[in-house]
Each structure stands twice: as structure tokens, then as C-alpha cells.
Amino acid sequence: MTTSEPREVERIHPVADPGVEHHVERWTDVDEAAANRVTRQITFMFGMVPLLCIAFVVFYFAIDRSATVDFAGLHAPAQHTLMGLAAGMAILLVGVGAVQWARLLMNDHEQVEERHDIASSDDTRKEAVAQFSAGVEDSGIGRRKMIGTSLAGALGILAVPALVMFADMGPWPGPGMRRATIERTVWAEGVHLVTDVTYNRIKAAEMEIGQLINAQPEVLKEMAHDDPIQFQREKAKASIIIVKMDPNRIKVPKSRTDWHVGGILCYSKICTHVGCPISLWEQQTHHLLCPCHQSTFDLGNSGVVVFGPAALSLPQLPIKVDAQGFLVAQRDFDVPVGPSYFERDSSKDYQDGDE
């Protein structure tokens, strides 16, 4: 082993630095006519700018808002298009003109500037240390350490009131709050299942095998007008899909034999991954695919995950029919719907093979 200093970097120049390359003259440097031509071109570009700006103002005021342009695949409002064209060209010409001026007419002899040392000189450093020491000396903190310590503590603790101020940013999701919000939906005994948007009740007898209905709880209809904000919150949890499948071609676990009505099953529409509404239905395989991240659930098997990043089965809503034959809920979902969260007890979710 060698004891000599290891060389980390070798700086050897086998070819000597020839110095900055010779200046190559441009056409505009040697030919006055060429330079004049470029000058005219640049002046023309700058000269077009006022014209384009006037055009912009004319387009702004004169063009009818409903007029459109149809040209080479472009179908757009005429005002938008012409204003943009005029403004874009005007701005662009300023830029192109300026760059051409620099490129073709301004002095293009490369110049060399020396770099200065970034680090301070030893003397400066010494002086800086001395200044700092003098300041420390003046403050007397060397002898009275308690002042410094208490000041640091005082400054640090000031962060506490500042941070506490933010505690009201939202309600605290303690167990009670969670039960009242993310662990509950508006589904309850006897709530009618109605079609999304139109709020029509759904007759069990009228559904056909393979059919899928996007549905909502009937109680949302009123809420849409009375409390739109709460309506959005509830809709984000209560949205469901109803599917009718051949009861002989699906797997219904013992614990869920009375959850469906003759092959009509109801699931949460909210993906257990990050909460997109799921709606791509593969009729033959009974698979439901989320268009956001492609988690796929088997609705013929209690909503278990068959593909994709979702981990939890799609919660199933137990349903029955009322006296008139309309679909109603038996109760709320047994497990929280939507994406997982830390405090979620995920031991009760259905897993493939559960009875």
C-alpha cells in the first residue's frame, strides 16, 4: 500500500490551450449592402407590430362574438382566433427582430472576462472571524449563557401559537366525527333506490339480466336544493350501481343470501382505491372497471378485487323490495365506502372465499 497522497483528480492538458478562436466575419460584417438589407428586414418586423396591434383592437371591437372560423380543421371563435393571431405575431416579431439585430448586426467579437475567487481571502476570513468574535464579546453572551438559551427557547415556542391557529382548518376526525361523516352514508332502512339525475324509483321486476343502473338514494333529491354542499358530500359516498345478474351464474356467500333481490345486487360506486366513481361494466364477466386507475371488481363475487391497485372489495349494499315492488335499502353499508384511511378497521371487509 502506498502512503503517498492519492490523487483524486488529474488535470493534464495534452494539447495546449490555443486561446479563443479567431473571429469569423459574418456576411453583414463585410458587405454593407447585406447589413442594410438586414436592417430593413428588422425595421420591417418592428414596423409590423403597430399594424398588428391596431388589427387586434379592431378584432376586439368589430368582430361578432358568435362568428366562427372554419379553416383547415380549425373550428374556433373568429374573435379569439384573429385576436390571438394578431397579438401572437406582434409579440413574436418584436422578439425575432431583436434577436436578429443581436445575431447579425451587433458586434459579435467574443470577449473574455476573468472569474473572481468565490471564497474570501484568508485575510477577509480572519477579519470576519474577528468581527464576529467582537460582536459576541459585545453582546456578553459568552458570560451570560442563560440569555441565549432562553431566547432560543422563546423563539422556538412562538411556533406553537402560530401552529395552533390552524387547528380550526377543519373538524377534528375523532372517532365520533368519523362515525358521523366518512363512516356513514345516507342509506338507511327503507330508503328508495332511484336512478341518478332523474330520481325515478326502480321496480325490481323491470330490471333485466345484464342491466346496470347508476343510482342514488332518494333522499338526495331534496338535499340538492336545500343544501348543495352537503349534497355533494353525500353523493360522493352514497352513489351506487345496481346490476342484475343470473343468480345461477354468480357466487353469493351464505352471509349475503338475503342481500339481493333475485339476482339484483347493489354496490357502492365509489372505488376503494382513491374514490373515483366506477362505471365501466363488463356484462359477460360481471367485472366492473374503474376508469381512473383500472381497478377491477368482480360483482358476481361480492365485489372482490380481480385486478389493479385497489385493495378492498367494493362494499355491497343489502337491498330488498317494498310493498310496491320498488327497490329499497335494508340498512346502511356495513363498512365505510371509498378510499382507505388510517383509522379504518378493514378486518370486516369481504374477502374472496368468505362465507
Partner: protein, 568 residues
């Protein structure tokens, strides 16, 4: 015969003289003097006005980012005049017929008003969105340029860290911006963020309730994002950009190696007038192009998506491009989730969402320090590396880009599947493996390419440039004539520093007392791996020898030399 007249070409009588030109600014008086007496303008001018900047197209990438940011500020101000960051539900009664009577948030309604009822509103909205795409894109490209040329090395490590901060904040800027219109697509993005925040272990639910002011979607999130988007984030960006540019001026710009370029100088053109015209003009070019993009290229047509409805989503929903890789990771990760003692740990969301972004930013931030530790290089670097001369760094960078690109493809796995008639599941399974195998292949290939390019440089220096002229000698042999390359080029190809392999240094001194080794066993190992692909630079003797043989046209020597060079 008459004597011919003498012809003279000069005549003092005919010589024209011009009066000495008056300098444009004879002395600092007037406004300049007034300012000098108040803010010391003279000193500032003397310091900065003729500062030299080097020229290279890749130095414009950062400029594009800066200019897009200015465009974003300008267009953003316009948009705030009409946009209402409110989630209050109203019935739309504006001029877009297809949505009349539809209940929607004020945010969405005012976005529609901007697009249809405010003259030029659609134009400015589209310019703003395009500029945002360009901003993140140019910043990313600029960062890659800085990485691959080693511009992050001492003394610019802090500026690199500011750059990493800028990039991460620009992602927040972009996301908070495209969430504001409260259309179906942006609401879907927010729903995703809600799931992402929820997945954070221990504090997730609390963070969700604090961000959204309770349950998703609530009534607060748009106005909060608005504050973030128009105040906090641009403020931070402005401050960081200010620091970034101040440090740039203080350090002076790096330059590519070339004749006359050294670690101690900077060769280029003065700020005034050349760069004021070039850079100033370039601002207008970027702005002009962005305006034309906003005019002719439709972006984010929110009226086609409809208002946000938590029960609806469109197939093919995707975030803006810079979030695509996170989206991809979220899509292709296996569904890992742990259930421990009544709690749920959503690795399937947390790892790709929060973890991956953290990993990338940490890796980027740490790299200058890791590389300095590996190479032991404590010198200042103002001459850039040609990427081939740092093969391992370049290969790591390309590996990172490959991984990013594959994750990014994952963000469109459904589109890929439908466009190319592939199985969505197979695309996903393939990407699960490819994101790990792809980067390894990219690393190995890139490092070999770099080594080959180094050898090619070496051959060029030793044997010159191929002429394309085949010469037949008197005895019937054929060879291709080479001409020596210019001194300028030869210098450029050989000036880079070399990092020889290092043995671990002694752990005990001569007296057998344990000392701290200067090169530990581990560092020696990593360093030697790092410099493994480096090809030896031609020495002055080798160049001399090759040239003297070349002068005699002795082709055998050249061929022998070729072989020698290739076996290294």
C-alpha cells in the same frame, strides 16, 4: 511621346475627415446622475452592464422556464379579474347553451364566463395553461441539462438545491391551478388527491379533514387552493427564482469547454447590448409562441367536461403531463395494503403517490453531495462536462429518465391498451417489471455508448478526421486518408479532468498506529465503479507519435494505433 501622367492613389486633399464621434453618454448626468446619487447606479452599471455570458442553445432552457413564469404571472392577473374561487352552487345562465340551467359551482360558472363571455378570456386561459405546461417542461429540461453537464458541482450545489425546490413547487403550482375550474376533470383530480392525503399513515384522515375543511369535497377546498395558487406558491417561486438568478450572477455562468475557455474565465458576449437583445428578444419569442399556441391549440376545454359530479367520471381521465408519472405509479402498483390492529396502511397509494415523489426529490437534492463524495473532487467547476466524459453519471441520469418515462407511460396504460389493441392487464404487468429492468438496461447501454464516444474522441485526436477519400498506394493497398483535426478541436476533446481509479489508502501509519484512511475501502470500491468506463485520455507523447507517423502517410502505424486505442 508624352510622359505618362503619374497616377496617385492617395490625395491628402480628397481625404474626408469626420469629427470625433460624440459618445452616446458623455458623462453621467441627468436622470442617470440623479439615480446614481440615490442608489449608486454607477457602481451597479459598472458591475453588471457589460457582464459576459457564454452562448449555447441549452442555456436557453432555463430562460424558457423563467419567461413562461413571467407569462403565467401576466396572464394569471387577467384571469383573477373574472374568476370566482367559490364552491357555492348556482344555476348556470351564461351564454354557453348546452349547460344553461345546469347547477354548478361559481368557480366553474366563472370559468365558463371567462371562456365565452369575456372577450379574449379563452385566449388568455389557454395561454396560461400552455405556459404552465411549458414552465414545468422547460424547468425539467433545464434541470436535465444541468445534471448531464455537471453544472451542479461546486460551487453551485446550493443553486441546484434551489432548483429542486423550484421544480417541486412548480408541480404544486400546476396542480393547484388545474384544480380551480371545478369541472369534472379537475374534480376527479381533487378526488384523487383526497385519496392520496388519506393514505398518509397516522395523520392521513386529519390532513384530509384539514385540507378540505371536513369531508370531501366540502365548500372550502377551491378557495384554499386559490390562495395557494395565486399567493403562496407564486410568492415562493418568485423568491426562489430571485435567489436562483442572484446566485447565477454571483457565480457567473458555466461554459462548455473550448479553446480559450478555462476554469478561471468566461468567454462570450456582454449583457449590454448583445444579451439584452438576445435574451429580451427571446422572451418575446417565447411569449409570442405561447400566444399562438393559446390561439390555435385547444387545451382543457372545461365546457366539454361539465361541472364536477362525484358520481361521474370520463374514461381516459388523466392529469397534466408532469403528474403523469405519479399517476402511472399509482396505476401499476400491486394492491398492497396492511391491516394492523384496526388500522389500515394503504401502501398502494402512499408509496407511489407520496413516497415516489419524495424519493425523486431527495435523490435529486442529494446527488451533488453523493457525487462529490465518490469522486473526492473538491475543486470549483466552471467548465461543463460533456456528458460522455462522465459516463456513470450520464448513465444514471438516463436510467432515471427511463424509469420516469416508464412510470409516465403507466399513466396512460388504458390509452395504450385501446390505441394499440393490447390487453390492459398485460400492459400493466409489463410495466411493473419494466420500471425496474428498463433503467438497468438503459444504464448499461448508456455507459457503453459514453465509453465508445470517448474512444471515438481519442481516435479523432490521435488520427484525425476521416476524409472519405480512399487512397490506393503504389503496391495496391487501400486506405482512407485522415486529416488532422484543428488545434481548437483537439484541445476541446482533451481538456477534461481525469479521475484515475484509487486504491484504498493505508489504515495504519508507519508506526502501526491506526489512522483515518483518506480513501476508505468502500469509497475506493464505489469510486472505481464510478470511473470504470472512463477511457484514458491521449497523452502528449501519444499525440506526437501519432502525428509524426501520420505525416509520413504510414497507414500501418495508424492501423496499429487504432487497434491500440480500441483495446483500452
Amino acid at each position: 511621346m508624352a510622359k505618362p501622367t503619374t497616377v496617385t492613389t492617395e490625395s491628402p486633399v480628397l481625404e474626408t475627415t469626420t469629427p470625433a464621434a460624440k459618445p452616446p453618454l458623455a458623462k453621467a448626468g441627468g436622470v442617470a446622475g440623479w439615480l446614481d446619487e440615490r442608489v449608486g447606479l454607477g457602481g451597479l452599471t459598472k458591475f453588471g452592464l457589460r457582464k459576459i455570458f457564454p452562448d449555447h442553445w441549452s442555456f436557453l432552457l432555463g430562460e424558457i422556464a423563467l419567461y413562461s413564469f413571467i407569462i403565467l404571472l401576466l396572464t394569471g392577473i387577467f384571469l383573477t379579474i373574472w374568476f370566482k374561487p367559490s364552491m357555492a352552487e348556482i344555476e348556470y345562465m351564461g351564454s354557453y347553451q348546452l349547460l344553461r340551467g345546469v347547477p354548478m359551482s361559481e368557480a366553474y360558472a366563472s370559468t365558463l364566463a371567462l371562456s365565452f363571455d369575456v372577450r379574449g378570456g379563452l385566449l388568455v386561459r389557454q395561454i396560461h395553461h400552455w405556459a404552465a405546461m411549458l414552465f414545468v417542461g422547460a424547468a425539467t429540461a433545464h434541470m436535465l441539462r444541468v445534471f448531464f453537464t455537471g453544472a451542479f458541482r461546486k460551487p453551485r450545489e446550493l443553486n441546484w438545491l434551489i432548483g429542486v425546490g423550484l421544480l417541486s413547487i412548480s408541480l404544486i403550482a400546476g396542480f393547484s391551478g388545474y384544480s380551480l375550474p371545478d369541472d369534472l376533470l379537475s374534480g376527479t383530480g381533487l378526488r384523487f388527491v383526497d385519496g392520496l392525503i388519506r393514505s398518509i399513515p397516522i395523520i392521513g384522515t386529519w390532513a384530509e379533514f384539514f385540507v378540505f375543511g371536513g369531508e370531501f369535497p366540502g365548500s372550502m377546498v377551491i378557495s384554499r387552493l386559490y390562495m395557494l395558487h395565486i399567493l403562496l406558491v407564486p410568492g415562493l417561486l418568485l423568491a426562489l427564482i430571485g435567489g436562483h438568478l442572484t446566485m447565477l450572477v454571483f457565480h457567473k455562468h458555466t461554459q462548455f469547454p473550448g479553446p480559450g475557455r478555462t476554469e478561471k474565465n468566461v468567454v462570450g458576449y456582454p449583457l449590454f447590448p448583445v444579451y439584452m437583445a438576445k435574451a429580451g428578444g427571446f422572451f418575446f419569442i417565447v411569449f409570442g409562441v405561447t400566444v399562438l399556441m393559446g390561439t390555435f391549440m385547444q387545451i382543457n376545454p372545461v365546457w366539454m367536461y361539465g361541472p364536477y359530479n362525484p358520481a361521474e367520471v370520463t374514461a381516459g381521465s388523466q392529469p397534466d403531463w408532469y403528474m403523469g408519472w405519479v399517476e402511472g405509479a399509482i396505476r401499476i402498483i400491486p394492491n398492497w395494503e396492511s391491516h394492523i390492529a384496526g388500522t389500515t396502511w394503504s401502501w398502494n397509494v402512499f408509496l407511489p403517490g407520496v413516497g415516489l415523489m419524495g424519493l425523486l426529490l431527495t435523490a435529486l437534492g442529494a446527488w451533488p453531495f453523493i457525487e462529490a463524495w465518490i469522486t473526492g473532487d473538491r475543486d470549483e467547476h466552471h467548465l461543463l462536462d460533456r456528458p460522455r466524459n462522465a459516463p456513470t453519471r450520464t448513465a444514471l441520469g438516463v436510467a432515471g429518465m427511463t424509469m420516469y418515462g416508464l412510470f409516465w407511460l403507466g399513466g396512460g396504460n388504458d390509452i395504450i391498451a385501446t390505441t394499440f389493441d393490447l390487453s390492459l392487464n398485460n400492459v400493466t404487468y409489463f410495466l411493473r417489471g419494466a420500471v425496474f429492468i428498463g433503467p438497468v438496461i438503459a444504464f448499461l447501454v448508456t455507459r457503453r455508448i459514453c465509453a465508445s464516444l470517448q474512444r471515438a474522441d481519442r481516435n479523432r485526436v490521435l488520427h484525425g478526421s476521416e476524409t472519405g477519400v480512399i487512397v490506393r498506394t503504389g503496391d495496391g493497398r487501400y486506405y482512407e486518408d485522415h486529416v488532422p483535426i484543428s488545434e481548437d478541436e483537439a484541445y476541446t476533446l482533451t481538456q477534461h479532468p481525469a479521475y484515475p481509479a484509487l486504491e484504498p489508502s493505508a489504515t495504519h501509519d508507519a508506526a502501526g498506529v491506526a489512522i483515518r484512511p483518506k480513501v476508505t475501502r468502500r469509497r475506493s470500491k464505489i469510486r472505481n465503479w464510478f470511473v470504470k468506463a472512463d477511457q484514458p485520455k491521449p497523452t502528449a507523447a501519444e499525440i506526437e507519435e501519432a502525428h509524426s507517423h501520420g505525416d509520413h502517410g504510414d497507414q500501418k502505424a495508424i492501423e496499429a494505433g487504432d487497434k491500440k486505442a480500441l483495446t483500452h
